[in-house]
């Protein structure tokens, strides 16, 4: 569904990604891990259009994404949940959801969609008029996810969904993501919390210094001594 091939991207003259490839099939959960500075966030930003790649291709369901701005990429059916500051903090929960439905055209068209999201996330119905910035970190993350759901994406891209969250909230987020995946939505997740993503994802892509380092089914990687040593701090054998 999502096919990233040989993508290279740079900030000015500083090249971050060198010919990176990955793909996400329909209904799959793919995790991206790697050391700091590996370019994981940059890869997500490049796919979603915040940064244009200078070589390679990004295709989604056959359509080319590379070079499109984020507001056009999302209309292809992709949602994006940023690492931090993803919600409109000075607006209410309800307004955030209304904005989530911006691409549907009129406000009326969005109303039904928003109702559906409230049904999925009853917590927000009660807090509909609360200022989004006053929600807890976990709730804000959930709101950001909920916002993408207003327009029924086929793929959601998440940048470190567990970042700065207490374990309880991480559990909730991942439970939500699992439920979304069961309903057919594919997920592409960058994660620092390697254990979590090994559990949650079907496949893992490892990025190092802006290049593909390793890829495989997460079950396979869980067995790999090298991965365990590098990322889980466990001694092989």
């Amino acid at each position: 569904m999502l096919a990233v091939e040989g993508v290279s991207a740079a900030y000015g003259r500083l090249e971050i990604l060198h010919k990176v490839s990955l793909d996400v099939g329909p209904g799959e959960i793919v995790g991206i891990i790697g050391p700091n500075g590996a370019g994981k966030s940059t890869l997500l930003k490049t796919i979603f259009g915040y940064l244009p790649p200078f070589e390679g291709s990004v295709r989604f369901a056959g359509d080319t994404l590379a070079g499109l701005s984020p507001d056009r990429v999302m209309r292809q059916g992709i949602g994006y949940v940023a690492q931090a500051g993803g919600v409109f903090a000075d607006m209410s929960v309800h307004e955030n959801l209304v904005l989530g439905g911006y691409s549907l055209g009129s406000r009326r068209a969005a109303t039904a969609a928003i109702e559906r999201v409230y049904a999925q996330f009853p917590l927000f119905r009660a807090r509909a008029h609360q200022r989004a910035g006053s929600l807890s970190g976990g709730e804000q993350r959930a709101l950001a996810v909920a916002r993408t759901l207003v327009v029924k994406p086929r793929l959601i891209i998440l940048d470190e969904p567990s970042a700065a969250l207490a374990p309880r909230f991480i559990d909730e987020i991942y439970a939500t993501l699992a439920a979304l995946n069961r309903s057919g939505i594919a997920l592409l997740i960058v994660e620092q919390n390697v254990r979590r993503i090994l559990d949650a994802a079907h496949r893992i892509v490892v990025l190092d210094m802006g290049r593909n380092a390793f890829a495989g089914a997460s079950a396979e990687l869980r067995q790999s001594d090298r991965i365990r040593r590098l990322y889980l701090g466990e001694d092989a054998g």
Partner: protein, 293 residues
């Protein structure tokens, strides 16, 4: 004495309405694009010129003239982003040094003002008031034009605030001001919102220009002093804060009006400049602002 103060208070309110239309627009541009539009006064001036053309040259009614003036300036404002700012942003990236955009709008201001001078001459053109007569209060007489300004300015600002609060595009404008990346992620096209924002802000300035034309006269530099005062107002209110701009406009206008009782009128303009410098030294974020300098 009380009557004098009340009279000046009313004057302050009327002027405050004009200042508010102007400063709120300026703040809107700053809040959404992070650009200070030094040329805002020229759009204000064009509003006056458009009204002059409509009423004096074409003989249209004041109402039509005012609507026309606002529409003309709105259309002009729509052009600014795609023609001037977008190319610079494209070359430098959105995080270009602010001063460069300042220089751009400064150049635009010089270009527009002198073009007006060349095209229309430097005389002070007279525009007849839209409304004759007035309201006779016991202590003073409030002219119809002043009442009109109060009413139209209030309605205009109310309409703007309602638009920003409830309309889909108004919410989009607020979203871009708050969090451009997130706004893009929900499908809001930045370029179009920037264009709309500047258009709206200029429309407000043009409306203000048309409303005050009978009182100020119309000439190329008519917007200049107002521009500088508006800078002071936006800093007092907190740059990027619309409500702050509104409140600060009323404060500055009222203080200016009342100051006539205390200081010679030539120094009236110094109030705004002095306030600005004072605020920047003591509390740079202004009354309501959050953006730190």
């Amino acid at each position: 004495m009380v009557e004098e103060i009340l009279e000046f208070l009313i004057l302050g309110l009327v002027l405050g309405g004009i200042y508010a239309l102007f400063a709120v627009g300026l703040t809107l541009i700053f809040g959404v694009l992070d650009i200070v539009n030094v040329a805002h006064g020229e759009f204000f001036a064009i509003g006056g010129y458009a009204l002059y053309v409509a009423m004096v040259v074409l003989g249209l009614s004041p109402a039509v003239g005012l609507v026309l003036a606002t529409a003309v300036v709105f259309a002009l404002g729509l052009v600014v982003y795609p023609l001037l700012i977008a190319p610079l942003q494209k070359r430098l990236g959105r995080r270009a040094p602010g001063p460069l955009f300042l220089v751009l709008t400064l150049g635009l201001s010089a270009l527009m003002q002198n073009s007006l001078l060349a095209a229309a001459g430097g005389e002070y053109l007279k525009v007849p008031p839209a409304v004759k007569g007035g309201l006779d209060l016991s202590f003073t007489f409030v002219s119809g034009q002043r009442l009109l300004i109060l009413i139209v300015a209030s309605l205009g600002l109310a309409a703007l605030f309602l638009f920003l609060r409830f309309h889909r595009q108004g919410m989009a404008i607020r979203a871009v001001a708050q969090n451009p990346a997130a706004a893009q992620s929900v499908g809001i096209p930045l370029g179009r919102i920037f264009t709309l924002t500047i258009g709206l802000a200029c429309a407000l300035a043009g409306l203000a220009g048309g409303l005050i034309a009978p009182l100020f006269s119309v000439y190329p530099a008519v917007g200049f002093t107002l521009t500088i005062k508006a800078f002071a107002i936006t800093i007092l209110g907190g740059m990027g804060n619309l409500l702050g701009a509104l409140v600060a406009s009323l404060i500055i206008a009222t203080v200016e009006a009342l100051s006539v009782l205390v200081i010679p009128s030539e120094w009236q303009n110094a109030i705004a400049f002095g306030t600005m410098i004072l605020v920047l030294l003591v509390r740079p974020s202004g009354l309501f602002g959050k953006k730190q300098p």
